[in-house]
């Protein structure tokens, strides 16, 4: 017997299961990376010059595209969680003294790892398209921290959404708002350039502080205010997702 507590061991076993699922079906990762990559090419080469953002457009758009890369990976998680719930396998786990949250944390960790692959692709693309950063090593670490926090929060919320969805087919749609939200944030154009109403929405929705803090870190000009707001949003979303997912898990036999 190992000395590692059972919940950790169980979560690790579940993570391995979910990673195997991703490896068996790598097209989900490909799909998640495809849209942000296409968008990046479109924005940088086609639209970018029309937007007056006060800096080199690829540098402006990269933080937003990183968030989009995370968002696009979420529907696969929602579907996967929902299929687990719809099939007998979940009842098997439930009658086995497996730690309650292990199934959920397995999905969350696998989603975060999947996101890291698509985010890496986007960052690689950005550099290939002329992205230049004056960030220090510390800034980069901070950026990675913000990305990880955002991915973690989004993953918990997605697991909850997938858990609450009635069928795997509808689960994929529940994350659509998470994919659309970055477009109504400062991801592609600054919020200040938007119309009345939309601008206020963009300024106060969670993606804006996350993207702005990331933008500051990658540009080597970190902003404490945005970072605090970003982390607070991430912590809040993760907590809501966690509690909601766990409650739904307990309720659904």
């Amino acid at each position: 017997m190992s000395t590692i507590p059972a919940p950790l061991t169980d979560s690790r076993i579940m993570l391995r299961r979910n990673l195997k699922h991703i490896l068996r079906n790598p097209v989900t990762i490909f799909n998640a990376a495809l849209m942000p990559v296409v968008l990046m090419l479109l924005l940088v080469y086609v639209f970018g010059n029309a937007f007056n953002v006060g800096e080199h457009y690829v540098e402006y758009a990269t933080p937003g595209l990183i968030l989009l890369a995370i968002s696009y990976g979420l529907s696969a998680t929602a579907v996967s969680v929902s299929s687990d719930m719809a099939k007998g396998i979940i009842n098997r786990f439930k009658v086995m003294n497996v730690s309650r949250g292990a199934v959920l944390t397995g999905h969350v960790m696998a989603t975060v790892l999947g996101s890291s692959v698509t985010v890496a692709v986007i960052i690689g693309m950005a550099f290939a398209l002329g992205f230049r950063s004056s960030a220090t090593l510390l800034d980069w670490l901070g950026a990675i921290g913000v990305i990880a926090a955002a991915a973690f929060a989004a993953a918990w919320l997605t697991v909850a959404l997938g858990m609450a969805a009635k069928t795997p087919e509808s689960a994929g749609l529940t994350v659509v708002p998470l994919i659309l939200l970055p477009f109504v944030s400062s991801a592609i154009v600054p919020a200040a350039k938007m119309g009345q109403g939309v601008r206020q929405f963009a300024e106060y929705q969670p993606f804006t502080p996350i993207i702005e803090s990331l933008r500051g870190l990658l540009a080597g000009t970190p902003s404490g205010g945005y970072a605090a707001a970003a982390l607070a949003w991430c912590a809040g979303i993760a907590l809501v997702g966690y509690l909601w997912a766990l409650a739904t898990f307990r309720r659904r036999a």
Partner: protein
């Protein structure tokens, strides 16, 4: 169904206690004895051979033992003794070709060693599953309305009922998946409400829908179970390999479960349940949707489990399945248990066997009805139901009598009462399983 089932109950619990009870160190039933035979008679029994030379120790001798036997085609009977509800793993062979062709293929008799009131005899008497006053409703819909059950250890208990009777709900409550509204349930002596963890540690469940991970291979599915049970790496590997062999899944072990046929999935599902060697296994409609061959395979697996001392709680809507496998059957209809007992006891509740005679026209039918008094006429089907014990002699007499009166019979068969008849007799409506079978 080709098997002939005698209407009498040949399994008399405790009805054939051997003489000589009290001999220390040896259970009396292992020596010469009598078998409570298929025809309800006691028959002399002689042990021909023992698979091992050991005599059970004093502790075991003090406990009640249950012996179960079954013959092979040549009339060699294999007997197995169970000590305190556990399989003793000792097999005895006895040559009784004369019993080979008779009736049911399984007999039981019980014998009593010197009972010192020890722990073993307590365990023997204890139930694997004890349910009383179980109720469950979803909103206004009452799914289970006061269920009482008792399943002795190392037996097969079958909950029989049509779709929607509440079988799966019962299994879900008993396996701690859902909470009952009221009533108490003890599984392996543990209360399911307060000792959930202890219950989960001893049970295994194979649900109605194969609970396998389709994106993992057969081997990975089993390994996942071994890991979740925190088996040591070497031990886990060994268990996985042996289960793959036992369930004939070695060849497809490296293929994704999504590519498996229905029968293979069920086997994998059950193999996953067995990774922890559970004492009590719940099988919720284990053969639903399987072809006849896979169903036979599944039945054999269940029989092997019971021979290993496992208690099996089986739900089914196939009446033949309950009859084939179960020691006791409970019939569930719309949340109520309408009957409980041995398959044979249940079959006694319906009219005896009869011979349906079919004729080509009403004239012949009427003529036959006049000759064969006491039979029932079905004009629409041009059929006459003649009560008969189904023996060759009485059939010959029946046909001779029809011959005497020059009555031409189009078709005839022998209908032995089966559980379909029981269901109809008990609930007043037909089992839905008939359509699907």
């Amino acid at each position: 169904m080709t098997r002939q089932l005698p209407a009498r109950d040949e399994r008399q619990p405790g009805g054939a206690s051997r003489s000589g009870a009290g001999r220390v160190g040896r259970p009396v039933c292992e020596g010469p004895g009598e078998l409570s035979g298929p025809a309800g008679r006691t028959e002399p029994w002689r042990t021909a051979e023992r698979a091992d030379g050991e005599t059970p120790g004093d502790d075991q001798a003090a406990a009640a033992a249950r012996v179960q036997g079954w013959p092979d085609a040549g009339g060699t009977w294999f007997l197995e003794t169970r000590w305190g509800g556990r399989s003793g793993g000792r097999r005895y062979l006895a040559q009784r070709p004369d019993l080979a062709q008779r009736g049911r293929t399984r007999c039981q008799w019980s014998c009593q060693g010197r009972d010192r009131g020890g722990a073993d005899s307590d365990r023997m008497r204890s139930s694997a599953i004890a349910v009383s006053g179980l109720r469950k409703a979803y909103g206004d819909k009452i799914v289970l309305d006061g269920i009482d059950l008792d399943v002795p250890a190392s037996t097969v208990f079958s909950l029989l009922g049509p779709n929607g009777a509440g079988k799966t709900t019962t299994v879900n409550v008993l396996t701690t998946l859902i909470k009952a509204d009221s009533g108490t349930v003890r599984v392996a002596g543990h209360d399911i409400a307060t000792e959930t963890k202890a219950v989960r540690a001893v049970i295994g469940v194979t649900g109605q829908f194969a609970a396998v991970d389709e994106l993992l291979t057969g081997e990975e599915n089993l390994q996942l179970m071994a890991d979740l049970h925190h088996l040591r790496a070497g031990e886990g590997k060994r268990v996985v390999t042996s289960l793959l062999e036992r369930f004939d899944l070695v060849e497809p072990a490296q293929k994704m479960a999504a590519t498996y046929s229905g029968g293979m999935r069920r086997k994998l599902d059950l193999a996953m349940t067995l990774v922890t060697r559970p004492q009590i296994i719940f099988l919720d409609e284990p053969t639903a949707g399987l072809d006849p061959r896979s169903r036979r395979t599944m039945w054999n697996i269940v029989r092997e489990l019971v021979a290993d001392g496992v208690t099996v709680f089986l739900t089914t809507q196939y009446l033949e399945e309950a009859d084939q496998l179960a020691d006791r059957i409970a019939v569930l209809d719309q949340g109520h248990l309408v009957a409980q007992g041995t398959p044979d006891a249940l079959k006694r509740q319906v009219p005896g066997s009869h011979v349906p005679l079919r004729f080509t026209d009403v004239r012949e039918l009427d003529a036959a009805a006049r000759v064969l008094t006491g039979s029932t006429v079905d004009d629409a089907a041009l059929t006459l139901r003649v009560p008969s014990d189904g023996r060759a002699k009485s059939l010959r007499a029946l046909l001779d009598r029809l011959d005497e009166h020059s009555i031409d019979v189009e078709e005839f068969s022998v209908h032995t009462p089966d559980l379909d008849d029981v269901f109809l007799a008990l609930t007043g409506h037909a089992s839905t399983a008939e359509n699907t079978q």
